[in-house]
Symmetry: C2
Subunit: 583 residues, 2 copies
């Protein structure tokens, strides 16, 4: 037997016991005639001690231990002279009687400490060492607790967890599908699912009624920060439900997760905001509502003063930075440069300082009288001491710039603490979005999303105005989940495909077996999927989803530890009837 106890469980009440512990050497310290070893495992750290005056041989053995050696210690639990209140085992230590070195260790390439000296590349390459560090380990523990809570809640609510296939069919439009050549069927391919969407809808046709799965999905995406080629979804679907049934069910789930995994509770329902309001007041469809600083549109109010920048603009909007009227010229210049970066894309930044003493100072007082400026302050509900920041331009870019500026100032002003959680449902998404380039409509959510019944007449007259029974779950400005009520009527589905520019043949080729299934008695149904990696990231306070994944890939989709992807052998290629062609 390797151990009687873990390194996290011995207490003052265990004093006198003969125990055996196993673990890793966190550090050794010589102090006078004594040597101390911090022995670490997943559960904690226990101090081992050898007194040279009583057991010189043991002290020598402890002195020779290297960092991260794996050892087994047998000894007696004694009370410590100088107790460590910060460590649950800090009232005791173990006098070592026998020691066995279970495995030696090379010196790790970075320190196994909360604040390590290892850079991200190094930590990814030696991920098995990184996992020994508290921050990563506790993220994985949180992820485990969240997964257990999710299953407990959904099981209680009558959901069945059902595994859908990972080897599925590729679709003609599946440009971002990973494909998998079949050895048994040369020249043919499976695809890895970007989501189990079709299968969960088929489960509803199959009468499963309530389905969920915590499931890996895959996207061979152009590289983007904080995306992973494989990611985990909490995928759910229900039959005989309307939008509010789904929102109620998964709001319950979200609350349960927050409580079970973080001890956070919420009073009352989560707020709901229409997509239109989110865009109008926050400039995006995933507002961070931990703080105010909403957007005020000033287009009408500011036009007509012979100020070309404004008069030519499609849209003018402002946000109010509270108590920032004292910002220096330099600070405002820096913000101006910030919004002019290509990622943000604003042409410039105007300001109105509503000083503490009631006076007003502005970058645009050439065009606006002090009365005008006062009116603008009033319109934006600014108070003395506040700073109005104004951007103009085309509507989409300007709203986006105001959104980003608001979030940046929220960070700088400390309005976005990581331990405050502000969940929000964004509802009434548009059914379609128009793509200028290809001059066609795309499904905003996906082609199975149901329009709001009252908007169905608009499908023929003004499809862009049609609202969908679609909803997103947003926490702290991060889209954590989304879903929709699906179309269960074949005719409506056919109309949808036609509006999306599919010929009946294309629709058949791509979604044939789902449409076939719908002719055999599909129930009304809808669902939702949470991005599990992002949900854990938000709750953990981690900076990147890579910090909540045991073995993540880097932003170039490479696993630096396992060194993949790689070339494969000619023999393997031949078995698959494949040949690499140079680009």
């Amino acid at each position: 037997m390797y151990r009687t106890h873990t390194c996290g469980e011995l207490r003052i009440s265990d004093v006198g016991k003969s125990v055996t512990l196993s673990g890793w050497v966190q550090r050794t310290r010589k102090l006078g005639g004594m040597t101390f070893v911090d022995l670490r495992d997943r559960y904690g750290i226990t101090q081992i001690v050898a007194d040279g005056s009583q057991n010189a041989f043991m002290q020598e053995q402890l002195n020779e231990l290297g960092r991260e050696y794996v050892i087994q210690i047998q000894g007696i639990v004694i009370e410590r002279e100088s107790k460590n209140k910060h460590n649950p085992t800090g009232e005791i230590e173990i006098t070592a009687h026998t020691i066995t070195i279970l495995n030696k260790a090379q010196l790790p390439p970075f320190t196994i400490e909360d604040d390590t000296d290892g850079g991200e590349e190094m930590r990814m390459k030696y991920r098995y060492l990184d996992i020994r560090r508290n921050p990563i380990r506790s993220n994985l523990e949180l992820r485990h607790r969240m997964a257990q809570a999710i299953r407990k809640y959904l099981d209680t609510q009558g959901f069945l967890e059902i595994e859908t296939p990972v080897l599925i069919g590729s679709t003609p439009e599946g440009a971002r599908d990973f494909v998998v050549p079949s050895r048994v069927w040369p020249g043919q391919f499976y695809a890895l699912p970007q989501s189990p969407q079709l299968f969960k809808q088929l489960l509803m046709v199959g009468g499963i009624d309530k389905y969920f799965q915590i499931v890996k999905c895959f996207r061979d995406e152009d590289l983007r920060a904080d995306r992973q080629p494989e990611f985990t979804q909490i995928d759910c679907e229900m039959s005989f439900v309307e939008q509010q049934d789904i929102i109620a069910m998964f709001e319950g789930l979200a609350k349960f997760i927050f409580t079970e995994a973080k001890g956070v509770t919420f009073e009352g329902d989560f707020p709901q905001m229409t997509y239109a309001d989110a865009m109008k007041y926050y400039g995006c469809d995933k507002p961070d509502i931990r703080f105010g600083m909403t957007i005020y549109e000033l287009t009408t109010l500011m036009k007509g003063k012979d100020f070309k920048v404004i008069d030519d603009a499609q849209y003018v909007g402002a946000i109010v930075a509270p108590n920032c009227a004292a910002y220096t010229r330099k600070e405002i210049d820096e913000l101006t440069e910030w919004v002019k970066r290509p990622q943000i894309g604003a042409k410039g930044l105007m300001y109105i300082k509503y000083n503490e003493d009631g006076t007003i100072k502005s970058s645009i007082d050439k065009f606006y009288s002090s009365q005008d400026l006062e009116q603008l302050c009033q319109e934006c509900e600014a108070h003395a001491g506040d700073l109005l920041l104004i951007i103009s331009g085309d509507q989409a870019t300007t709203l986006n710039a105001l959104c980003e500026l608001r979030l940046e100032l929220g960070n700088r002003l400390g309005f976005r603490p990581k331990d405050v959680f502000a969940p929000l449902w964004v509802v009434d998404f548009p059914l379609f979005e128009w793509d200028e380039e290809s001059q066609r409509l795309y499904a905003k959510h996906h082609p199975f999303t149901s329009p709001k019944p009252e908007d169905i007449p608009l499908l023929d007259t003004n499809p862009q105005a049609v609202r969908a029974n679609a909803y997103d779950f947003v926490v702290n400005g991060s889209e954590i989940g989304g879903g929709s009520i699906r179309i269960h009527n074949s005719e409506l589905q056919a109309k949808m495909f036609s509006l999306l520019g599919f010929t009946p043949e294309q629709a058949q080729a791509q979604f044939g077996f789902l449409m076939g299934a719908f002719t055999y008695g599909a129930p009304p149904h809808g669902g939702l999927a949470f991005g599990f990696d992002r949900f854990v990231t938000i709750l953990s306070g981690a900076d990147s989803i890579r910090d909540v994944i045991a073995f993540p890939k880097n932003n170039a989709a490479k696993d630096l530890m396992a060194e993949c992807p790689t070339e494969i052998s000619q023999a393997q290629l031949e078995e698959l009837c494949l040949q690499i062609r140079k680009k």
Copy 2:
């Protein structure tokens, strides 16, 4: 709101309530002036009724419903005149007041009944309809309950569920790996894991201590009955453990699953049998111990009687079929043909009938005196009325033939009831097996399996005699799980690779990052994986793992519903820098 209740929950105590139900039309029946509809959902069947004399319009609407129509019914719960004790809702019915057809249905291609008229191909193609049938749905429900029980138990025991990557590196020997071309890194490939073996060992190096995962694994295997290209493992690993710690932990898990999912309990520990005994007494390493009929070796006893078939044989063995002495010549001939089939491969079958009256009759009495035959009966502990069946030949084939014959007779004699479960640990597997063809040793389990410490000296002198710290979990003759204590010492691992014929360079290329990890402080560790599909199959009593998988592939690795694998477009191939070459 689509429903106030499910179709499985209304009882006599609900009489008088106004309710709304939604579901599928199982059947409609006209009986005199009344029409009855069985309305079905996942939870049960509730009878809907319309009395033509009171509501002719409603009766007409019910009469027009087709099978599998999806409808919503609003009505009043009333007590039934003729109650159905077999249905939990059988004491009530609903007088329909309003009906809404939510979706019409084509006539399904097979009946949605427990005993359907659909063949397997048809049921696979329309799997979403097959899932509506009780047998499939209840298998999926059992699978869900088992998965929940597994997580509950392992969570309580301190295991962390950690997701390992699905896109991993291919290994030079990974002939049965599915590979996944990367679009971002043209000419490079990921592979899908055949098991998370390396990653779970790395998690132990990372100090995770107790890991589990219910996880999809993949094997691009030549087609075999009852194998799936993707399958699900309950994958587990623990640190600082010896074989008995692992067996104790997962015996606890197995008992918990049996109890939670099936209400089956076991007294005392599961039996353990050495690999050597399993081969000797049952002719295979996964004995079905629901019944006796073990194998008796008769090689020495039967030789030397001038019977060439026996004298030339490497091995002679027998099983005793209890109370089968009265088998006719025809019956025995049929058994003889059965063991001579190529799948079994015996050359023939000898018998000794130990008749009820004490007389003995045999197919080999030309060579053996009645005293000899009596002695053979005695040796095999046969009783009057029993039938001895003897096979001779080379040892491996003969033991296998006796094993198969034993199982076949067990089936015929009713000794293998599906609702009796006989779990068993098979232990002390050999570390290696010798491959005649390639004239080299292979790892019986895998190359990381630890030899028994007392057998380590044999590595140099007689490696085939070395026993491993490896164990299998067997239920009713089916291998449900297996695992081993791993090697955590780099030198022993290097020796293992050399015995397996790897050069250090090959070992480095294939397992480099694991061996590297082992130099940074690997703890002693070991684990086990259960085949989840097979575990569910055993508990469900299903005939095939396809019956416990929501969307299985057929034995040719094809999904008949989603129609994959398929060819992909030239554009997709070009993006991946791939070209198909004709064989």
